[in-house]
Amino acid sequence: MSTPLEQAEQARLDLEELQAQVASGEIDAETGARLRATYQREIELAEARSERPPAAGQSRSRTRVAAGALVLLTAIALTAVVLSQTLEPDPDRALQGIAATGTFEPGDYSDETLEAVVAAYSDDPTVAGQLPYMRFALAERYFERNDFQRAFTHYEAILQRDPAPDLFASTMTRIAWITFIGNGEVDLSLQVIDRAIEAMPTSTEALYVKGQILWCGAGDAGSAAVLFELVLTSDQLDPVTRAQVERDLTAAAAGEPCT
């Protein structure tokens, strides 16, 4: 557990890192301004409580961002499961209206091509069943690069077209994550993730992300542990993801803050 002065120092380092990320375009200006205000507030708070030990389980932005990177990777591993199930050769879902070749494999196309296709066919009823999955695959690329603004545009478009429950849950999970890591909105992100779980109660990624938000955002390690346990009952987890969730469960069950 670090001291308030160490926390203040860490927040200063976060601020420097943020400036570099904004300068390189990794984080957009609007998000950067919001995070900058948060870090500065943390510096002031940490300095103000330098005579007192921080409350147990209190989260800080650095911890949250580090945990964020971890949860992001894990969530993507979980998504890969979802997507491979969805986009495996399925004649009803192949983009036959656009590509005479039949099955559509998003990995074969550039961002620009996918952008053009979703723009040209967004209102085409003959591909209405397939297009949201193509759009989701495109949004995932932006999400993986932390380009949340571009990703969000596509998630929003998916939601506007009444997606299937699996796609709705995955999309809401991403939005919950963006709301949490991008905007620091714990309560709102929990409301969003609950919508995802409501639509798809067995969604391991939604359950896992909710656990992360509770643990790293709300400091509720106990509730997070319960969710991680639930995630581990799934037989769809790859070994790497399973090992990560097990580590998280151990730490959360022990009441440790997320790291």
């Binding site: 983009l95 656009i98 590509a99 005479a100 559509f104 074969d108 196309y109 550039s110 620009e112 091509t113 996918l114 952008e115 053009a116 296709v117 723009a119 040209a120 066919y121």
Partner: protein, 196 residues
């Protein structure tokens, strides 16, 4: 001497048969299936007037961009269908070193502009007129729609004959960006005149 004459006659006959086979395979079949002679060669360097009347532009700028040259006409049904895909491609690749040029084929400026007004224009696409069909002749256009792809070195590396779509257009551009030569793809019929 007689043997020599016989040999000569036989050689001439063999040559004639071979020539007729070659000519038949080249001209006797579907002209849509004849490989464009332009593929692998430098793109024609031609300046054409803009459809909006604001001066003229080089068809291929030679600035290291990939250039997509689409020949269209207001009287061509397939051109109407593929137009939205071309606009989407122009927008999707706008910041990625790809330039889309649409050239009116055997069309009058008013009709071509009306077609674009109705179906939409991309701000990043060049819309050009082709008076006298200079560009169409230089590219060897058989009918519309036809779309040519020029690589960053100014070489024509691909052609789509017939109605293209955003996925096919993007896939072809992606291949060129990977350094591949997509070659000719025949995906549908073309119209060589308003009468068909």
């Amino acid at each position: 001497m007689t043997r020599l004459v016989r040999w000569g006659a036989w050689a001439v006959a063999v040559f004639a048969v071979a020539l007729s086979v070659v000519l038949a395979s080249r001209f006797g079949g579907d002209p849509n299936l004849v490989e464009s002679p332009l593929i692998g060669r430098p793109a024609p360097a031609i300046d054409l007037p803009r459809l909006d009347g604001a001066g003229s532009e080089a068809l291929t700028a030679g600035d290291g961009s990939i250039v997509v040259v689409n020949f269209f006409a207001s009287w061509c049904l397939e051109c109407r269908t593929e137009h939205a895909d071309l606009v989407a491609i122009a927008e999707g690749f706008r910041d990625s070193g790809v330039r889309v040029v649409q050239v009116a084929f055997q069309d009058d400026v008013t009709a071509a502009n009306r077609f674009l007004d109705e179906l939409g224009r991309s701000p990043s696409t060049l819309y050009l007129d082709d008076p006298g069909g200079r560009a169409a002749i230089a590219f060897g256009v058989f009918g519309v729609p036809e779309t040519y792809f020029v690589d960053p070195d100014g070489i024509v590396v691909g052609k789509i004959q017939g109605e293209a779509n955003a996925l096919l257009l993007g896939q072809t551009i992606d291949a060129i960006r990977r350094g591949e030569d997509p070659g000719q793809q025949v995906v549908g019929d073309v119209q060589s005149s308003p009468d068909g």
